[in-house]
Symmetry: C2
Subunit: 492 residues, 2 copies
Amino acid sequence: MSWFRSLIQRSSIRHPLKPSKATPSLTLLLSEFSTGTEAAASREAGLGPTRPGDKARVVVLGSGWAGCRLMKGIDTKAYDVVCVSPRNHMVFTPLLASTCVGTLEFRSVAEPIGRIQPAISREPGSYFFLANCISVDAQNHVVHCQTKTDGVGTLEPWNFNISYDKLVIAAGAEASTFGIKGVKEHAIFLREVYHAQEIRRKLLLNLMLSDVPGVTEEEKRRLLHCVVVGGGPTGVEFSGELSDFILRDVHQTYAHVKDYIHVTLIEANEILSSFDDRLRRYATKQLTKSGVRLVRGIVKDVQPEKIVLTDGTDVPYGLLVWSTGVGPSPFVKNLEFPKAPGGRIGVDEWLRVPSVQDVFSIGDCCGFLESTGKPTLPALAQVAERQGKYLANLLNQIGKIGGGHANAAKDMELGKQFVYKHLGSMATVGRFKALVDLRQSKEAKGLSMAGFASWFIWRSAYLTRVVSWRNRFYVAINWTTTFVFGRDISRI
Amino acid sequence: MSWFRSLIQRSSIRHPLKPSKATPSLTLLLSEFSTGTEAAASREAGLGPTRPGDKARVVVLGSGWAGCRLMKGIDTKAYDVVCVSPRNHMVFTPLLASTCVGTLEFRSVAEPIGRIQPAISREPGSYFFLANCISVDAQNHVVHCQTKTDGVGTLEPWNFNISYDKLVIAAGAEASTFGIKGVKEHAIFLREVYHAQEIRRKLLLNLMLSDVPGVTEEEKRRLLHCVVVGGGPTGVEFSGELSDFILRDVHQTYAHVKDYIHVTLIEANEILSSFDDRLRRYATKQLTKSGVRLVRGIVKDVQPEKIVLTDGTDVPYGLLVWSTGVGPSPFVKNLEFPKAPGGRIGVDEWLRVPSVQDVFSIGDCCGFLESTGKPTLPALAQVAERQGKYLANLLNQIGKIGGGHANAAKDMELGKQFVYKHLGSMATVGRFKALVDLRQSKEAKGLSMAGFASWFIWRSAYLTRVVSWRNRFYVAINWTTTFVFGRDISRI
């Protein structure tokens, strides 16, 4: 090829006055595109079973907290890692709310998988596949997948198969809509980076449009009414960030419309229900003080410009963010494994799917089988991260004693069971204020903190948890810049 | 309102077990959304003429280099500033190519107008309107505009009018396609931040998809063939950045497909035709060395997966970037003012549109009328910036001697004419290498530099030109991070 290339360069550059000279070399160039022999590679291709001498293959479905923590910890001398996910990065979810209003940049909360586990981009047997898993054939140790080609107009999605030695299902959960009509069409969730981008674009667009002559007072109020449904940590943090953005930035940079913008947080029960009473009262006071309207209500219907509550009240909105928790995804629902309470994939004390060989599940998509007598763990980053770490160690240990390949670990002693110890919950409520609940369960007694000190602990804790040094650095820089210069308001 | 709000909070928070209590207060809350009286504000609204005692109003169409430099320099004690543009930020175009591959972040090259001219967000008579100007009624000193509502599903665009005392048309130019079929549909330009975002998303998507089992060799080569059409500074800089990205980052993070990715630069004449011969040879050598294939050719047709050259050659591509210069936009074409050569708005030596009162034009959309005997200036950031600065001073001076209002400057002596002095041209060609041509015209003799020293000068020059300290800081941080950690490859 280098011969072709130098020929092309010679003919096209050294004789700048004779463009026709380029023709023969372009034809040669083109021959590169139809080298034929392999061009007929089947659309039904994939990765076949590993051979006894090869490294064993771990297939990981998903790239959230659980899957990424597992991949980070896996021993790549013992295993090839193949990750199947519709996104090539992990989202640092606890900081996602901050990106919607420009306190942090989007890239600061996205960690590419190739940086979490470099073997995936370098080792010949390790891969990242941008695809969704469609079904699992546990009898034959194969997963069926379909590529995700949105954005390439010229490619139809195609199917392929991957044989696994160990399968880790870490495909996460889906935002719950409770079957309410219009949620998926009109509300924005807050789970992926593109959700945060959409919220930011819409918020800035509404701010700008409400300042243009010809908009009515009523439309202006509607456009600038930001409604958050769901009073869990995500909803509360987002409301806090939003009201802080309004107080600090909108009042300065959108002075003409500042009196029209409002935030309403709608929750059917009480906000932050898992937190200590004292903390909950503190959060309520802080949110109220910063201008967030807390409303008790249940949403019945979501329409393009308003939501309807069960008591018949209409609430017009310009931006609607939906964060009412998660439930099992269609993929998980369709899997033919025994389920745990709540429809999650049922696992035993070692996070195995016990009805089949070599299948494990971690994170929001799994739950302990009733037979284990253990409670379902909350859908928290903390739980997923701990499960990923535990399973990486378990698989490494299995690999070390020769059980890495398919069906090779049937009768092995697996050692310690997975035990979850809750380290506490945290939530920010606006600028320099956070709640830290260090109790191990809702009923326990223990330390709870609110205010500046806990904000400081919160920020430090997150800084050390962001996976790479690059992103730790960027988050620190983002926070400093926002502090010094204010938030960025360009709508790009 | 505060009464309503405290009522709502009381009823919804203090009695957490009685959600029905919230109902009456929500009804009150809602009354806010239909306060009626102003709700009938007409869709044909706008800003009427200023009165003699008021500040005069400068209306600026566009937010590029010319318009933003003008707004930055305008004396807001003498004038209210109203900016009409479809984007709320200025794009720092010389660094845009770097953002496509993650060397710089998108926000580092976007400067919000509110930061360039703070009066726009604070002064009661100054505004930014997210809209396009549709037509100019110079007789009545009015512009007709239409809002840009893409992204708000619930709002139809509406029209409004703005009366001006002085009008500055700085609406820029449009990418030329030379009437070639399919360019607009399949190629990506490189003029706005969203173009750079699209290029980055597509490039990463193609890299990922070409690694999935089932893709043929031929498709893989096509997906990873990046074609750049146009060998001006933008095309050359983008090709250089891209090949550097391939050498430094793709080889590490997409090791499986690294041998399939190629960059081809197609130019009908010679690359960097405005530069000194020696620099051009240097650029050719550097690009070739870093793996860019330089091809002489003229594009005839652009199809979804390939372009066809006039000699009949097909060139398959996965990513197509089009940067063959600019021409007048439909808005400029439709204006009924005398035109300069090339279809631009004709201006006199003071950048006035001489056939009417109080209308000026600056940047890529204007050109000297033939009657001035002056040549058309190149469509460069440098020219636009100098014109914006000149016109801000001219308007300030007119305002000072009482000519700010409509028709008040009819017989005024305008002082010095606009004279353009070329400071030199610069282009980067990959890592640590740049060309700096300090000659004042193509025929002149003078200093030209290539290599590391000029790269250093180039980077420093840009750092001091990026408008705000915030962005200067971010660009420096971005460059440092890329240098230390490599580029970011998450596809968000």
